[in-house]
C-alpha cells in the first residue's frame, strides 16, 4: 500500500462534482515540523510505566456510561432547529470560542462518598499563547483506569455534540448515525506540556 502512489491513474469519485478550483496550483513550501522532536529528555529518562489492569470482577462499574451532561464544562449545544435528525445544509454563524474555565477544573464524580469513581475532565490547557488540549481520566475505586485526549476515548458521544459544529455540514444526518463509538480524534498536533497541564487538572478534579 505504501507504493500506491506510484500508480498514476485513478481519480477520487465525486471529486469533480464537489470541488472546482483554479488550475494554477500554488507553489508554496511547507515547513511544518513536529514542534519539538527531541524536546524531551533522553529516552532513558522516560518515566516508568504505570500499569493498571481492570477486570469486571474486581470493579463492577469499571466502565461507567459516558454522560457528557455530567460534566460542568461548557459544551456547545446547538439549539437551532436546523440541527435535528435531518438537518438541512445551512450557513451557520461562527460561534464564539468555547469559554475556558480558567483554573477551575470541572468534576463529575458519580459517587459522592467513598473512593473516587467516574470520569473527570481536565482544564482546556493552553501552552503559551497557542495550543489547546483537554484530557479526561476515568477513575475506578480511586485508581486511574483510562486517560483520553479530548474526552472522547471510545465512549458514547451524543449526536448533539456532533451537530453543534460551526462548520456547515453536508452530511449531518449521516454523522449522527456514525457518531457513537468514536475511537480516536484526528486534529492538529498538540504539545505535551498542554497535555500534562490538562491531565494534572483532571487528577486534581478527581481528588487523587
Amino acid at each position: 500500500m505504501k507504493r500506491a502512489f506510484f500508480v498514476g491513474t485513478g481519480t477520487l469519485v465525486g471529486l469533480a462534482a464537489t470541488m472546482s478550483y483554479a488550475p494554477s496550483a500554488q507553489s508554496i513550501e511547507s515547513t511544518e515540523g513536529l514542534g519539538g522532536l527531541g524536546a524531551l529528555p533522553a529516552p532513558a529518562a522516560t518515566a516508568p510505566v504505570d500499569t493498571t489492569v481492570v477486570t469486571p470482577s474486581d470493579s463492577p462499574s469499571a466502565i461507567p456510561t459516558y454522560d457528557p451532561s455530567a460534566t460542568a464544562t461548557p459544551t456547545p449545544v446547538d439549539t437551532k432547529p436546523g440541527n435535528g435528525p435531518q438537518p438541512k445544509v445551512t450557513k451557520t454563524p461562527k460561534p464564539k470560542a468555547t469559554a475556558t474555565p480558567s483554573g477551575s477544573p470541572t468534576t463529575a464524580p458519580i459517587e459522592t462518598s467513598g473512593p473516587a469513581n467516574g470520569d473527570f475532565l481536565g482544564t482546556i490547557a493552553r501552552a503559551g499563547v497557542y495550543g489547546t488540549v483537554q484530557v479526561q481520566i476515568r477513575v475506578t475505586n480511586g485508581v486511574i483506569t483510562d486517560i483520553g485526549v479530548l474526552a472522547y476515548p471510545d465512549r458514547e458521544v451524543e449526536s448533539q455534540q456532533i451537530s453543534a459544529s460551526a462548520i456547515p455540514q453536508l452530511r449531518t444526518a449521516a454523522l449522527a448515525a456514525q457518531s457513537a463509538n468514536i475511537a480516536s480524534i484526528s486534529g492538529a498536533s498538540y504539545t505535551s506540556s498542554a497535555y500534562k497541564a490538562s491531565l494534572q487538572a483532571a487528577i486534581r478534579a478527581a481528588g487523587l
Partner: protein
C-alpha cells in the same frame, strides 16, 4: 501509563498506552476478543521505536544523523538506511505536491519532520501487528494509523476535530487499514511558513486526509492546508485518498472515506457551498 480493560464494547478487550515523545503524546489503542497481558510489553516495544525515531530524526538534538546532515557534517550517503529511505519518500511527496511539501526549502537545512510523525505511526502500528496484535490504532498527536478492527467486524471510527471548538467533531470516517492526518494552526499557532513569500497565511483552517500511508498523510495534510482548494489538482491524482477541508465556514470533503454526496445533497451543495470556489 498503560491500561488493560476487559470486556468493553462488543465484549472485546482493549489496551491503551500513552507515550510522551517528540514533545507531544502518542496513544496506542489495541483491541481484540481477548488480550493477554503480553500486549503491554508489545506496546512498550513499539513505543521504544518512537524514541529511536527521535534519535534518528530530531532536529532539536545535536547527536542525530539528520542534524549532522543539516549542518553539513555528513552527506546523504552517510545517513542510516532508514534516514535515506524517509528522505527518498519525502522527495516523492514533494513531486506529488508540485513542491508544496518541500522539506528542503526551509531555513537550517532539510527537515523531514512533517513526514516523520505519520510515518512513525505506521511503523509503530505495524510492529504490533507483527506481534500478533492485529487490531491497532496509533494516534501520534492527531495523526492516526489504523490496523484491523475496532470491535468484531467493525471499522475504526475516527473523528475530525473542529478547528477551534475542542468539544466538537465536525466529521467522522470509518476505516480499517488507513492513516488519517489533520493539519491546522489552531494548536500551535502560525508555525507553518511559506519560504517563497515569507507569509504565514494558510488557505484553510484545517485539512484532513485519509489514505493508505501515514507519512504521506502527514505531509499531504500540511500541503493542502497551504495550497487550499487549488491543491486538489494534484491531490485528486492520488488513488485511494480522501480529503476533508475546512475553508472559512465551509467544509469541503471528497473521496471514499467521506462518501459520495447524494444527488439531493449535491444539488444543495452546489447551490450553497461551491459558489465561492
Amino acid at each position: 501509563m498503560s491500561t488493560l480493560i476487559r470486556d468493553i464494547h462488543g465484549g472485546w478487550d482493549r489496551a491503551v498506552h500513552q507515550e510522551e515523545v517528540w514533545g507531544t503524546v502518542v496513544t496506542f489503542d489495541v483491541r481484540d476478543q481477548h488480550l493477554d497481558e503480553g500486549v503491554l510489553a508489545a506496546i512498550d516495544e513499539s513505543a521504544a521505536f518512537l524514541h529511536q525515531v527521535d534519535r534518528w530524526f530530531s532536529t532539536y538534538r545535536i547527536d542525530t544523523p539528520i542534524t549532522a546532515l543539516r549542518m553539513g557534517f555528513a552527506d546523504l550517503s552517510q545517513m542510516p538506511p532508514v534516514v535515506q529511505d524517509v528522505l527518498h519518500r519525502c522527495e516523492l511527496v514533494k513531486a506529488l505536491t508540485h513542491g508544496t511539501f518541500d522539506p528542503w526549502a526551509v531555513d537550517g537545512g532539510v527537515d523531514p519532520s512533517g513526514f516523520v510523525k505519520g510515518w512513525a505511526a505506521d511503523v509503530a502500528a505495524d510492529k504490533l501487528v507483527a506481534q500478533g496484535y492485529t487490531n491497532v490504532a496509533v494516534n501520534a498527536a492527531g495523526d492516526i494509523t489504523c490496523r484491523g478492527e475496532q470491535s468484531e467486524g467493525q471499522p475504526w471510527v475516527i473523528g475530525i476535530r473542529h478547528p477551534e471548538d475542542i468539544h466538537t467533531i465536525v466529521a467522522t470516517t470509518e476505516v480499517f487499514e488507513s492513516a488519517i492526518a489533520t493539519s491546522g494552526e489552531y494548536e500551535r499557532g502560525k508555525h507553518i511558513v511559506n519560504p517563497l513569500t515569507g507569509r504565514r497565511d494558510m488557505a484553510l483552517r484545517s485539512a484532513t486526509v485519509v489514505g493508505p500511508d501515514g507519512g504521506m498523510a502527514d505531509a499531504l495534510a500540511t500541503a493542502l492546508l497551504i495550497a487550499g482548494l487549488p491543491g486538489v489538482s494534484w491531490f485528486a491524482a492520488l488513488p485511494g485518498w480522501s480529503g476533508y477541508l475546512i475553508e472559512g465556514e465551509t467544509a469541503h470533503f471528497f473521496g471514499p472515506a467521506f462518501g459520495p454526496l447524494s444527488s439531493a445533497e449535491m444539488a444543495e451543495a452546489t447551490e450553497q457551498e461551491l459558489v465561492q470556489c
